[in-house]
């Protein structure tokens, strides 16, 4: 609402001509009107087990928030609040990034009552017989004694060098350098000089030499240039890896996982184990060549996927593939890391992937044919690649269910796995588009908290529809056995 108001007012102030002022004025009235309609009536009451917030007059909304689910109660008191002896309150539960309830003025007695009810409700959950609650001991703060901490992974310079080579983040540094060059204070002074120098260099190349050497030497030269550039990029990438992950150690205590790393800026991040929502495992071809892989985690409370300094994302940026199971067993002992029995996708998944890609490739070729002519047929050289992709994808992709978790893996060159414990699943959905129905397939989505929107999650595509229904029923049963509390 506020976000809308500002541009409208700015529009009024900067508009030229009576018509535009009128137009923006109308918008302003509309915005204020809709806000009034939406927030005209706002009342709350404390019900037995939940807070009830009623809101709106024309558009009415009644919200029920269980006291058990309330995570944070934030109190703010500005000048007006203090004048009238009330407080503003924002109430947060686990869903979404916005507060679930915002109350502008609340008496101290009401706030005390809310605190008390939340406390009592959480108490009841802990005491309830037979309730499976993870992290039930969360309520009492940790005692003064530090818990025994064990180091489970340490990355030396050798591993970090491999990480640099494998991840190829050199472009990041080049990009940063370019941005600095073009935007920094030096840009105005040195950039024109640089271009003048480059122009002079090309002028000086002796034309006779160019003709004498012939195409082979030029090709060799170009290859060498490419190799040099790749070498420099790799070197930069290694430097980046070392600066960022220098002396990377991963340690566990009974309740949390801690990672420490960094050359100049030492970072130590501790995550309670029960906050881990998803474990991801990833290996690109270079990883596999060197017998390595990487492990990442998604934790609750970092939704949006933006990596802040305080969130732990990499459990291990690189580690020997053989160590992965050991590290994962330390972090999530509840999961049988060796017992995955991978089940394949629909038997015709490969045929479907192949057909779709071939049709797309054909369409692209046809489109390119209009401007380019016969040259466009070169795109058909990609056909073997398409075959390799479909074959590789269908062969690797699959899913597995263990007594405590569900796992999904996919990818062709970059192979990824995601593992989610049943207790951390929020919703399960089965989607089918018209093509899915034609092929008798479906997609099973498993939603978790704090999922990275672009990241690999449990999104099982091309699964047999009958099996998808069975999987859904199984997940329903498993989820109902557990209660999600973080």
């Amino acid at each position: 609402m506020r976000a809308l108001l500002f541009p409208i007012i700015a529009g009024i102030l900067t508009a030229r001509g009576l018509f535009l002022v009128f137009f923006f004025g109308l918008l302003l009235l509309g915005a204020i009107g809709s806000a009034l309609l939406r927030y005209w009536r706002y009342r709350y009451r404390f019900a037995e087990q939940e807070l009830v917030v009623e809101q709106g007059w024309i558009y009415r909304n009644v919200r029920h928030i269980s006291y058990v689910r309330i995570q944070n109660i934030n109190i703010t008191r500005n000048l007006f609040h203090r004048l009238f002896g009330v407080s503003g309150m924002q109430l947060e539960s686990a869903s979404g990034s916005e507060p679930e309830a915002v109350m502008e003025s609340l008496s101290p007695a009401a706030i005390d009552e809310l605190h008390e009810r939340v406390r009592q409700a959480k108490q009841r959950v802990v005491e309830a017989p037979g309730a499976v609650v993870e992290g039930a001991g969360e309520a009492q703060p940790s005692t003064a004694l530090p818990l025994p901490r064990r180091q489970i992974l340490r990355l030396g310079l050798g591993e970090l060098t491999r990480h640099g080579l494998v991840s190829n983040r050199g472009m990041v540094l080049v990009g940063a350098a370019l941005a600095f060059l073009f935007q920094g204070p030096m840009a105005d002074r040195y950039l024109p000089d640089f271009f003048r120098w480059a122009a002079r260099l090309t002028e000086r190349l002796p034309l006779e030499l160019v003709e004498a050497l012939g195409p082979v030497v030029w090709l060799l030269g170009a290859l060498m240039g490419f190799a040099v550039i790749m070498g420099v990029l790799s070197l930069l990438s290694v430097i980046y890896a070392i600066v960022r992950f220098y002396r990377f150690t991963l340690s566990v205590d009974p309740e949390s996982v801690r990672a420490e790393h960094g050359l100049f800026t030492r970072v130590a991040i501790t995550v309670p184990r029960r906050r881990v929502q998803l474990v991801g495992y990833r290996a690109n071809p270079f990883h596999r060549l060197l017998g390595r892989s990487s492990i990442r985690i998604e934790t609750a409370g970092q939704s949006g996927g933006n990596e802040t300094a305080s969130s732990l994302r990499w459990l291990a940026p690189i580690l020997p593939a053989g160590d992965a199971a050991r590290v994962l067993r330390e972090v999530q002992p509840e999961v049988d890391w060796e017992a995955f029995q991978w089940r394949p996708l629909h038997p015709r998944a490969r045929a479907r992937i192949l057909r779709v890609r071939l049709i797309l490739l054909g369409a692209a070729t046809a489109l390119l044919f209009i401007p380019m002519g016969v040259t466009a047929l070169a795109a058909l050289l990609l056909v073997p690649l398409v075959f390799a992709y479909a074959r590789g994808y269908a062969r690797y992709a699959g899913w597995a269910v263990t007594p405590t978790a569900i796992a999904y893996r996919s990818g062709w060159l970059v192979q990824q796995q995601s593992i989610v414990r049943f207790i951390k699943i929020q919703t399960v959905s089965v989607t089918r588009n018209p093509f899915d129905r034609r092929w008798g397939m479906a997609t099973v989505n498993v939603d978790t908290a704090g999922a990275d929107p672009g990241g690999h999650g449990i999104r099982i595509r091309f699964i047999d529809y009958e099996i998808a229904c069975e999987l859904r029923d199984l997940l329903e049963e498993k989820m109902s056995e557990t209660n999600f509390i973080w």
Binding site: S66, S95, T427, A449, M479
Partner: protein, 204 residues
């Protein structure tokens, strides 16, 4: 106009009247056997929403269509008064707008009825399943234990037809909201009360 508002004022009618066995699975009804109906609300069967959803949907889509056509009119004005645009283009745009009127009208009339027939909810003891989609089908399962909080919301048109939306919030990311839109007004709170995780109920 009579058929547009077929069930107006049906507020006090028996909710169970439309609770008959709706299609159970997305396609096959036979393969999935339903357990004998429980006496409670959570009978584990797939139910259609309130049929009043159809007129409400029609009104909503009509309003959207009118807004779209209004924007079209502004665009038409802009095109008509621009000197640089040839007469042929202008007349094409005009006829395009005219053609849009019946298309939007027919679509607004037919689509709510079609999508109504493909939307179901199912309440079980420990979860809710919501199923929708005519071409792109989607079925979402929310266990009771994952419900963070719930909203019941109602706009003016919905109020006139005595239906309301139940919105279930979970802690998830992509599917954090499950909106069951178009429940009979008196049923939505019952569903909500069933879904809200009441500790006492669970431990009994």
């Amino acid at each position: 106009m009579v058929r547009l508002l077929p069930n107006r004022g049906r507020r006090g009618t028996n909710l169970r009247s439309w609770h008959g066995a709706g299609p159970c699975c997305m396609e096959d009804t036979a393969s999935r056997s339903t357990p004998p109906p429980l006496p409670s609300l959570a009978d584990g069967k797939f139910h259609l929403l309130d049929p009043n959803m159809i007129p409400v949907g029609r009104i909503g889509m009509a309003i959207t269509s009118l807004v779209l056509l209004g924007i079209g009119v502004i665009f038409l004005m802009f095109v008509s008064f621009s000197p640089g645009i040839s007469g042929a283009v202008k007349s094409t745009v005009w006829w395009g707008w005219v053609a849009l009127v019946p298309i939007l009208g027919i679509y607004s009339w037919i689509w709510p009825g079609v999508s109504y027939r493909y939307t179901f909810y199912c309440l079980k003891d420990d979860c809710l399943i919501f199923r929708r989609g005519v071409f792109w089908k989607m079925e979402t399962l929310v266990p009771k234990s994952r419900v963070q909080h719930t909203d019941i919301s109602q706009g003016p048109v919905q109020r006139a037809y005595a239906i309301s939306d139940l919105i279930i919030h979970t802690a998830g990311t992509r599917y954090a909201l499950v909106t069951v839109n178009g429940l009979p007004r008196s049923l939505a709170p019952q569903l909500r009360d069933h879904l809200l995780d009441r500790i006492d109920d669970r431990t009994l």
